[in-house]
């Protein structure tokens, strides 16, 4: 019901205002058998229009929905997958590794001194400053004794479920290019995103929902927006579908207020099907045409299933608190995380959540040039509780083992000061962490140098991360190819090595 708030407020809710209740049996008789009628029955039940709402429980928003021809039908993995779904947590703007998970006591000792003997320091803005210690205290957590800064007390509580990688390294000091790199493997615009590759390779377990869902920060999009989840040269259908956190999750999910009632939609759909059938009969043997017929039925299942999938109001208060929904600061990302759990629970293959929007870049993203404490303090509060809640919730529902959760940013930040309080971009070292998918938690992989300036041991590039990610969901990154421009293109180009501690 929540998704129709706007309509109800106008007193013109499609169907609602007319109080025309239809019996489910009538309806099925009227609309003929098959998916269409069931889908509508489901929709009506969601809107309280069905006289027998109890029966609606039989109508499911999961599974293949009888679809025979769709780019999203499940496809066999290359080998037995460790996880079925992926959740990407992208912290837009560049999280400082040395103020969060990559503890560097040496920074205390060398605070205020220039970084010397390490080669040329390239910063994004102006001149490099001297080394700067973290303004945060670090504390050991869990059985693993992992050091985590006081920015993330809640994530500190789940470190034993997380594998930390301190040696991630990118190739660009620019937000956009490095975001492209971690999302597509290439720093050049126009390549397919991880989620597009994953859904191209595996399809989806649920035909009633988009296979690859992106939920951006309610404040706005990240650098370059939708091109971060574009299908690149893969067929366009594999692009991420953006879900909005409030209102109708998908653009044009419902007709505008006052235009069409559900009953009208159904009647039109039936007429559409009759006309399309006439056309198919005169043009036999063309699967595209029949696929187009079922795409309309699917769309109308989605109309009910998508709002249901993200209807977090139906969650218990305890769950809401777990995700930090009781706190204004953490509520928005908490909603995103809770939606992500509901989506993977329903078989959505990949969900990408963004924290950070380029509306006011220095404030709304993690881009802490001006002041680490002000910027990271705010963003950490936004995400700490929700992320810890997500991991806890997935785990207690038995979903963590079949879900890969990975967290990162487009780059790390300099161990140097920017004007005494901020930090500049640093693609040389970034912390990435992964949880779920049966990954051994509490471990630390790779290392940056003593100041956290550059990755030093077991350097992990985007291709390595992507190869590992694909492996966990049962895909060999060398075999997941798409023929384009004369080549079998890969997410990992001609590189990519599995991270043994993750896949082992």
């Amino acid at each position: 019901m929540k998704q129709h708030e706007g309509n109800e407020a106008n007193g013109e809710c499609t169907g609602m205002s007319r109080k025309r209740f239809i019996s489910r049996r009538d309806l099925l008789q009227q609309t003929g058998e098959g998916m269409g009628g069931l889908a509508l029955a489901y929709l009506l039940s969601r809107n309280g229009l069905l006289a027998e709402p109890a029966e609606s429980k039989n109508l499911s928003c999961t599974g293949s929905a009888g679809v025979k021809d769709s780019p999203f039908l499940p496809k066999p993995a290359h080998f037995k997958p460790r996880a079925k779904s992926v959740i990407s947590l992208f912290m837009c703007g560049g999280v400082s590794q040395v103020d969060t998970f990559d503890y560097k006591p040496m920074l205390e000792k060398y605070h205020g001194k220039p970084l010397e003997g390490k080669g040329e320091v390239t910063v994004r803005q102006g001149y490099p400053g001297p080394l700067m210690k973290s303004p945060y205290q670090f504390k050991q957590h869990g059985k693993s004794g992992k050091y985590v800064s006081e920015l993330f007390p809640n994530i500190g509580g789940v470190v034993d479920d997380i594998a930390f990688i301190h040696s991630a390294q990118g190739r660009s000091v620019d937000h956009t290019l490095s975001s492209y790199e971690w999302n597509t493997g290439s720093i050049i615009a126009g390549f397919p995103s991880v989620g597009s590759w994953v859904t191209y390779g595996l399809g989806s377990e649920n035909q009633n929902l988009p296979a690859f869902v992106v939920i951006q920060d309610p404040r706005g999009g990240p650098f370059t927006g939708a091109s971060q989840w574009s299908a690149g040269f893969l067929p366009a259908s594999y692009q991420g579908t953006m879900f909005r956190a409030l209102g109708d999750p998908i653009l044009d999910l419902h007709p505008p207020t006052g235009s069409m009632s559900l009953e009208q939609q159904r009647a039109e759909l039936d007429q559409l099907e009759r006309m399309n059938q006439n056309y198919v009969e005169s043009h036999p043997g063309i699967s595209e045409l029949t696929a187009r017929i079922s795409s309309y039925e699917l769309a109308f299942r989605m109309q009910g299933c998508a709002p249901e999938a993200i209807d977090i109001d139906s969650e218990s208060d305890e769950t809401k608190r777990l995700y930090g929904l009781d706190n204004k600061v953490s509520e928005p990302f908490g909603r995103q995380c809770l939606m992500a759990r509901r989506l993977v629970e329903r078989g959505v293959r990949m969900v990408q959540l963004w924290n950070g929007a380029v509306v006011n870049q220095n404030i709304d993203t993690w881009d802490a040039h001006n002041n680490i404490v002000e910027n990271h303090g705010k963003h950490a509060l936004e995400v700490d509780k929700p992320i810890a809640g997500l991991i806890t919730d997935l785990k207690r529902r038995g979903l963590l083992d079949e879900t890969l959760v990975y967290w990162h940013s487009e780059f790390g930040r300099m161990p140097l000061s920017q004007k005494g309080v901020g930090r500049d971009h640093n693609p040389g070292a970034m912390t990435v962490w992964m949880a779920g998918a049966g990954i051994k938690g509490g471990q630390t992989i790779g290392a940056s140098d003593e100041f956290g300036w550059k990755a030093e041991q077991q350097i992990i590039g985007a291709h390595d991360l992507h190869a590992t990610l694909l492996h966990l969901i049962g895909m060999d990154h060398k075999r997941l190819t798409f023929f384009y421009n004369g080549r079998n293109m890969r997410l990992t180009d001609v590189a990519g090595e599995l991270i043994p501690q993750i896949v082992g």
Partner: protein, 913 residues
């Protein structure tokens, strides 16, 4: 770092096939060698298989890279039983005896000759070298024409390479004579039918006239034929009735509006830069209009090529030809601190080279950026030879007025700007003391260690303190470094009026600046190394001071000044230091060795507007020459693709070995020679194709046998139905409702999108939120193409990605398309208008309205069954509506509008039959 590309191990598999060819040819005892020289054909077949069963991909766990692998087979067992083709899975699959037949779509089935060659080879024991090795590159030490540098050793381009079909000039074959005279009137038909007979396919009968006129209209103009036109055509019994329609449509200005889109896809056209800021390309639309005009004027294609690459370098450049150079510049650009990131320019040039070479030559030269091309005879040096052509470019706004008028404008503007600058300095003088105070105030807010550093006398500062001081440099009126740079410093009562007076002077001066004459976004030659540096942040690392290396030059030399093009160094990427990169040999401009082994013919044009190298002109003329084996073939294939929804070569941007081979090479070659013979006239190609029986065939035709033999309709036994492209679906809807605003050309319009979409997007350019009204009902080609914010309806309907050259649109079918077309407000409004139009034209009777909608949308009469279904539907809807009581919303749909809404969503509407 593990991410660095390692050995090209994964490519060896494919190379090995060619190695096998070589080895087989060398094996004197080989059974293969003796048999009519068929073995290269087997190798070529296996090369096709490798796309899915090679080193990079092993579908069904099967690979064909070695004899062992073939004998071992994959999930379905051994592929080859030596000596017994009948028992060999490979043979069963390629002959289709076992399903699925191989190769799978999109590759065409093998030819009977290829199948015969494989059979012979298997029956001869399937000999293959056991341990295939990568092809030996026999780089002769004395071959000084090959480049050796560091670990790079350029592969030689051999006569064998040149024998590849696409590098051989097309040969005009004799037109076959068919028994059935239906196919003897147009050479296209003869070639197509001959192939069908070879494949045993039965062709469809001709389409009916109504289908044909709708097809022709949508194909050539992207608009629906008005019902009166349809009637007139149906009633015109003259023998050339159809020809007249084709000619009329080709003469229509809407022809260019439809066909330009094809080229804009190839040219990765957009109205904005993409990347983080997505700035507007304010004048990109002039290039778009140029392309539309070029199609409408039937500009000879060879001239079209030359203008886009070198419209500034040709003799007597025109406004149009200079506008055409926008082609070079339109790609995605960062345009932020480009000087500090020299690698950006290399990426831009990569974009130029790849777009030009894929677009005009269908060769993936970009694959040779880091190494010799793995499949085609394109060397890494070839790549740098091409970069040398583009390395002369500087961005330039070509004035579209006489040079007198332009200099007059420039002089006036620069005089006034000089005065403004002087006044601005006076203001700065007044503000200086305040700025000093602000700086102190800001300092006081900074951490203690910075204040301490500032207090410490310069010579006493520690190295760390020196770094801190250097970081704090600028101060803005807001009292910090990052505040609004436009904000004004607050002054006291004495100074404020003084500043105000000066500001008024500036405002008055600004009014005197004359309006800027129109300019086109393009390129000219110059020396990027001397780009005036607007010091955004002095000292930012990365930028190169070329003067320090002893270079002299000028960013844009004026007429009469000397000009030496900047050199390009082999393997330079801008990622290393310049001092290192310049140690590599300088690469001279040139063309692909395989097409042109000698030194490139490049001469500095004499009478161009500015000093210029002639390099782009040299490349353009090389491409546009009738001697070039690719240019004409590539363009006729694109035209063919657009008409039939598939190409003779199904990879229009790649005619290389990894592209698909032509399904009918004689036809392709005949068309290519005809194209040149007809003066590179695109319109003549349309006439030829559209007047063929092949084009005029029915799509509503079914034949079990043909479908089984050629399920993808590669050999065109029936006319393939084609879904309209995103833009044309929208245009057709507007043309059905009668709302289409035919205003042509000019700056882009912005289709209505939700406000939230715009406010959340990463764009610095403009994107006003508009609503449904005539100004947003223009043809889709005039809709803005924003790299970071696509119009959602276009996006879901497979619009091309404007960051890369697009050879063909995908056709995907997904539920979000249905949601958009069915629920989006714009299309609901259009349904109302279509119903209103039908009522106006046919009267209030619902049945008459329905019939009229059929005529408008489908260009045909409704059948009795269809009419009955529709009348029942409208009746049922009327009853339902009256039961429900009135719906007063402006968006509510009348029963007939509901029917119209269904029609606009129907398959028949969004497909060309």
């Amino acid at each position: 770092m593990p991410s660095v590309p390692k050995t090209a191990r994964s490519w060896f598999g494919v190379l090995s096939v060619w190695a096998i060819v070589g080895l087989l040819l060398l094996m004197p005892g080989s059974t293969i060698l003796g048999q009519k020289g068929q073995s290269p054909q087997v190798a070529a077949v296996l090369a096709k298989c490798q796309q899915c069963h090679g080193e990079t991909a092993q579908m069904s766990h099967f690979s064909v890279v070695s004899r062992d692998a073939l004998l071992k087979g994959g999930d379905h067992g051994p592929a080859v039983v030596p000596g017994n083709s009948a028992e060999s899975l490979l043979y069963k699959r390629i002959t289709g005896q076992m399903k699925p037949a191989m190769p799978m779509a999109p590759l065409p089935p093998l030819s009977p000759e290829e199948i015969a060659a494989v059979k012979e080879w298997i029956d001869a024991g399937a000999p293959m070298a056991d341990a295939p090795k990568p092809m030996e590159v026999t780089n002769k030490a004395d071959d000084s024409s090959l480049l050796k540098f560091g670990s790079y050793s350029e592969r030689p381009v051999t006569d064998t390479d040149r024998k590849y079909w696409a590098f051989q000039k097309p040969v005009r074959a004799a037109v076959p004579k068919l028994a059935d005279d239906r196919w003897n009137h147009n050479p296209i038909d003869a070639f197509v039918k001959a192939k069908q007979e070879e494949k045993g396919l039965q062709a469809a009968p001709p389409a009916d006239k109504r289908t044909l006129i709708r097809r022709a209209y949508l194909d050539l103009t992207g608009l629906l034929p008005p019902p009166a036109e349809v009637d007139a055509f149906v009633n015109d019994s003259s023998p050339n009735a159809y020809e007249k329609i084709v000619d009329k449509l080709l003469a229509s200005p809407h022809y260019g509006e439809r066909w330009a889109r094809l080229w804009l896809d190839v040219a990765r056209y957009a109205d904005s830069t993409g990347y983080e800021y997505d700035y507007d390309y304010e004048d990109a639309w002039r290039y778009r209009d140029y392309v539309i005009k070029a199609f409408n004027e039937d500009k000879p294609y060879n001239r079209f090529v030359i203008e886009q690459l070198a419209g500034d370098e040709i003799d007597n450049p025109t406004f149009d030809s200079k506008t055409a150079t926008g082609f070079v510049r339109l790609g995605p650009r960062v345009l932020d601190r480009d000087l500090e990131n020299p690698n950006y320019r290399f990426d831009y040039m990569d974009d130029m080279a790849r777009t030009a070479m894929q677009g005009f030559q269908a060769l993936t030269i970009n694959c040779a950026r880091c190494h010799d091309h793995k499949f085609d005879p394109i060397t890494r040096r070839d790549y740098y030879k091409t970069l040398a052509v583009f390395n002369t470019f500087v961005e330039y706004e070509h004035p579209l007025v006489s040079s007198d008028e332009w200099s007059k404008y420039e002089k006036t503007a620069s005089d006034i700007n000089g005065k403004i600058k002087a006044v601005t300095q006076q203001i700065a003088g007044i503000e200086a003391p305040y700025r000093k105070d602000l700086f102190q105030a800001m300092l006081a807010k900074l951490p203690a260690d910075i204040q301490e550093a500032f207090k410490t006398p310069e010579d006493k500062r520690t190295p760390g303190q020196r770094l801190l001081v250097a970081q704090v440099s600028t101060i803005r009126a807001t009292g910090d470094e990052d505040g609004d740079y436009r904000a004004k410093i607050k002054l006291n009562n004495q100074d404020e009026p003084k500043r105000k007076a000066l500001e008024d002077q500036i405002a008055a001066l600004k009014k005197e600046i004359p309006a800027k004459p129109p300019v086109a976004m393009g390129v000219r030659d110059g020396d990027f190394r001397f780009t005036p540096h607007a010091p955004f942040q002095p000292g930012t690392t990365g930028s190169v001071n070329y003067e320090e290396f002893g270079f002299k030059g000028k960013y844009m030399p004026a007429k009469g000044e000397s000009y030496t093009p900047p050199p390009i160094y082999f393997a330079a990427t801008g990622l290393g230091t310049f001092a290192d990169e310049m140690k590599a040999p300088v690469v001279e401009p040139g063309f692909l060795t395989v097409l042109n082994p000698g030194p490139a013919k490049i001469a500095s044009p004499r009478n161009s507007e500015f000093p210029t190298s002639g390099r782009r002109r040299g490349l353009a003329e090389f491409i546009a020459s009738p001697e070039n084996p690719l240019t004409a073939r590539v363009m006729v294939n694109r035209i063919w693709y657009q008409h039939f929804g598939q190409g003779i070569v199904s990879t229009p941007n790649n005619f290389g070995k990894m592209g698909t081979q032509p399904s009918n090479q004689v036809l392709l070659d005949w068309l290519a020679t005809e194209f040149v013979r007809q003066g590179w006239s695109v319109k003549q190609m349309h006439r030829l194709i559209m007047n063929s029986e092949t084009y005029k065939m029915a799509s509503a035709f079914y034949n079990d046998e043909s479908l089984a033999k050629d399920s993808t309709d590669t050999f065109l036994w029936r006319f393939p139905v084609k879904r309209l492209e995103a833009e044309i679906i929208r245009d057709a809807i507007l043309s059905a409702s009668g709302d289409l605003n035919l205003e042509a050309g000019g700056p882009a319009f912005f289709p209505p999108v939700p406000k939230a979409l715009v406010s959340g997007a990463s764009i610095k350019g403009k994107f006003p939120v508009t609503k449904d009204e005539p100004s947003t009902w223009r043809r889709s080609i005039y809709a803005t193409v924003k790299r970071n914010l696509k119009y959602p309806m276009f996006e879901v309907f497979d619009q091309s990605n404007p960051s890369l050259s697009c050879e063909r649109r995908d056709v995907t079918t997904v539920p979000t398309q249905a949601l958009t077309l069915f629920n989006n407000e714009s299309f609901i409004v259009q349904s109302q208008h279509l119903a209103a139009r039908a009522r106006k034209e046919a009267g209030a009777d619902p049945a008459a309205g329905i019939k009229q909608i059929y005529r408008i949308a489908y260009s045909r009469e409704a059948s009795a069954k269809e009419l009955q279904q529709a009348v029942d539907f409208v009746k049922e809807r009327s009853e339902a509506a009256s039961k429900a009581g009135g719906n007063s919303s402006v968006l509510s749909l009348s029963p007939l509008a509901e029917f119209a809404h269904v029609v606009l969503n129907s398959n028949e509407f969004v497909y060309i039959n």
